[in-house]
């Protein structure tokens, strides 16, 4: 159990490749923190610096109150789960899980009881004598988790641990990881490119882009109040609709839409952000209304997505699957004004 603090951490691989740029982030004890962003955004590098696998170019990383910049990985007392699982292929499942304890000089009996306990939790009891190549992907993944659990580390670092699993197993393991976090009461730092994993698992989410931290907040806040267009577009699926508008006072005007903003934004050119799920089927008099020309329909049972155009702008709307629509129809939808976002077209920062 430990808190983790990044203070102005920068990582340069060479003079002109900066993987992580001035990252400041503090992760509370027992928190489940998710670092999310597209590949190459620096999230893995940030995690690897914490593990001690990459040098830190500038700034410092603290575990609790101790600066760990120069500390070798083995002394940091953190456990890491790799995307490829990195199981030792020449060792049995038992030896894989016991390796960390062996390196720390635990007694045979302690090793035995801790590995058996972890194996029981992860349903690996029957597989302890097997070699990694004799296991399925899901089993390997559990061994990798087990190897981390038995160590009882101060923090768990997980680098895309679910991305090699098939979709069903991924959902299942996601839930198991959350249970594990509750049971162990240890700090989890979880790196993923998948916004669904981030939203469902994180106590807080740190969104990164090009090595720069964009926003850190609980999932709901990230969803409700994204600080810029990047975060708004990254979180949520299908992604938020962005409509360029010209603003004069309270009035915002897009190619196929005109509405009164709740307050004057003070920018001339803005980008209106409306999530696909924030359209209203029933149009009342004081709502703004869009007229969507439907080009593609997707019915998913629980949801129905309409892809089409409003004026000259592309737009996606999620509507009730019972709504009878066909291609080339024109559909009138209300805009939920309370869920409306406006971004400055120049800085891409949120106005509201």
């Amino acid at each position: 159990m430990a808190s983790v603090t990044y203070e102005h951490v920068t990582k340069k691989f060479s003079a002109d490749t900066t993987a992580v740029d001035d990252l400041s982030l503090s992760i509370k004890d027992t928190e489940f923190m998710v670092l999310v962003g597209p590949s190459g955004c620096g999230k893995s590098t940030a995690l690897r610096m914490l593990a001690g696998l990459e040098d830190i170019t500038a700034g410092q990383i603290k575990i609790d109150d101790q600066v760990v910049n120069e500390m070798p990985p083995r002394d940091r007392d953190v456990a890491m789960v790799f995307q490829s699982y990195a199981l030792y292929p020449h060792m049995s499942v038992f030896d894989n899980m016991a390796f960390g304890l062996k390196m720390r000089g635990s007694s045979r009996t302690e090793m035995d009881s801790r590995v058996k306990e972890a194996a029981r939790i992860l349903r690996l009891d029957q597989l302890l004598a097997r070699k990694p190549r004799q296991l399925s992907g899901g089993q390997r993944q559990r061994v990798a988790l087990g190897r981390a659990i038995v160590r009882q580390p101060r923090a768990f670092l997980l680098d895309e641990p679910l991305s090699n699993l098939d979709a069903m197993l991924r959902v299942q393991t996601r839930i198991e990881l959350q249970k594990m976090h509750q049971r162990l009461g240890t700090t989890f730092i979880y790196v993923t490119h998948d916004q669904v994993e981030a939203m469902t698992m994180g106590d807080r989410i740190a969104v990164m882009k090009d090595g720069v931290l964009q926003q850190v907040a609980p999932p709901r806040e990230i969803y409700d109040q994204p600080v810029n267009m990047y975060v708004a577009g990254f979180i949520g699926s299908p992604r938020m609709n962005f409509l360029p508008v010209t603003v004069s006072d309270h009035q915002a005007k897009a190619s196929g839409l005109e509405l009164n903003l709740p307050k004057a934004p003070g920018v001339a050119h803005g980008i209106l952000g409306i999530r696909p799920e924030h359209f209203l089927p029933n149009v009342s008099s004081d709502d703004a209304v869009i007229d969507l020309k439907v080009e593609v329909l997707e019915v998913l049972g629980a949801d129905q997505y309409l892809y089409g155009k409003v004026g000259s702008d592309d737009l996606i709307a999620r509507v009730d699957p019972q709504l009878k629509v066909s291609v080339d129809d024109r559909v009138r939808l209300g805009v939920n004004m309370r869920r409306l976002h406006l971004f400055d077209a120049e800085t891409e920062k949120a106005v509201f």
Binding site: A51, G52, L53, P72, P73, R74, R76, V78, A79, M80, F82, S84, A86, Y88, P89, H90, F99, G100, M103, R104, R147, R151, L157
Partner: protein, 296 residues
């Protein structure tokens, strides 16, 4: 797609098709293979039968030379009692074993560090080692002769034990570098985070996984030292310290007089250890070869 599949399958179930297939396979695979085998194995066969022929049979041109009528072990007895062959064999074994061990020790460390550790000049050192390997022994033996002289090692097995690594280490290092590179870095990173030091990670993770490669390198090194001729010829003169390749060619051939029986017996005995070693390690060896071929 469907039409392609049908073409490939042909008309099923006719006996003639099966026969054609066999003939095709024979022409494409078995006949060339047999020819190759015959060409490569014939010298070996010739060597073996000659070593079992009596003196009179050896030079009797009235009978077929392709088999033995009255096999005899005379040449072998002669080899072991009348020549220094036992010394040569022992010398060769000692030199090959010790220089292989020295070279492996250095190459494992060098190969690992070149493949794994990021330090200034790692790349150029790697290339430097490779270039060293390209310098031919026929050129290198000149300066080495001075070194051996200054160390007073002429007629001493250490002369070979110390010079063989000059070509074994570059060769094995280059080979092992490939093997270490083929082992995912993450395995060692996991070990480091799990509490291992760099040295522990190397001995417990990297080396066990590179074992096929290390065995293959050892086998190559051993064979190269076992068969080495030039340095052995130059640095050793005393009959008692010679190695098999030099002893056999120098002492079983006097001028234009060839002692065919002893020559063939010695050559056969000289090739047996290497053959045994190969067959013993063949599984590991082949695994090592392919791993190096794909990723090295």
């Amino acid at each position: 797609m469907a039409s392609v599949a049908r073409l490939k399958m042909g008309k099923p179930g006719t006996g003639r098709m099966v026969g054609d297939k066999l003939v095709g396979r024979a022409i494409r695979i078995y006949i060339p293979l047999l020819l190759l085998l015959a060409v490569t194995l014939f010298p070996f066969y010739w060597m073996a039968i000659t070593s079992f022929k009596s003196a009179s049979e050896l030079f009797d041109f009235s009978v077929s030379p392709l088999w033995v009528r009255e096999p005899t072990l005379d040449w072998y007895k002669h080899l072991f009692t009348q020549t220094n062959f036992p010394h040569w064999a022992l010398n060769t074994a000692v030199v090959a074993t010790v220089s292989t061990l020295i070279s492996l020790f250095c190459s494992v460390l060098a190969g690992y560090s070149l493949a794994r550790l990021r330090y200034r000049g790692a790349d150029s050192i790697g290339w430097g080692i490779f270039v060293t390997y390209l310098v031919p022994p026929t050129l290198l033996f000149l300066p080495l002769t001075f070194v051996i002289r200054d160390l007073h090692l002429f007629n001493n097995l250490w002369a070979l034990i110390l010079t063989y690594p000059t070509f074994l280490i570059p060769f094995c290092t280059w080979m092992l570098m490939g093997f270490f590179k083929s082992i995912p870095r993450e395995l060692e990173e996991a070990a480091l985070v799990d509490g291992a030091t760099r040295i522990q990670a190397m001995f417990r993770i990297a080396i066990p996984l590179a074992l096929p490669g290390i065995l293959a390198a050892a086998l190559f090194a051993f064979t190269l030292s076992w068969n080495e001729f030039l340095y052995s010829l130059i640095f050793l003169n005393d009959s008692l310290v010679k190695t098999i390749p030099v002893g056999v060619t120098q002492e079983l051939i006097h001028g234009d007089e060839f002692f065919w029986g002893e020559l063939m017996a010695a050559a056969l005995l000289g090739s047996v250890p290497v053959a045994v070693l190969y067959s013993f390690f063949v599984d590991h060896f082949v695994a090592g070869m392919t791993a190096g071929a794909v990723k090295g």
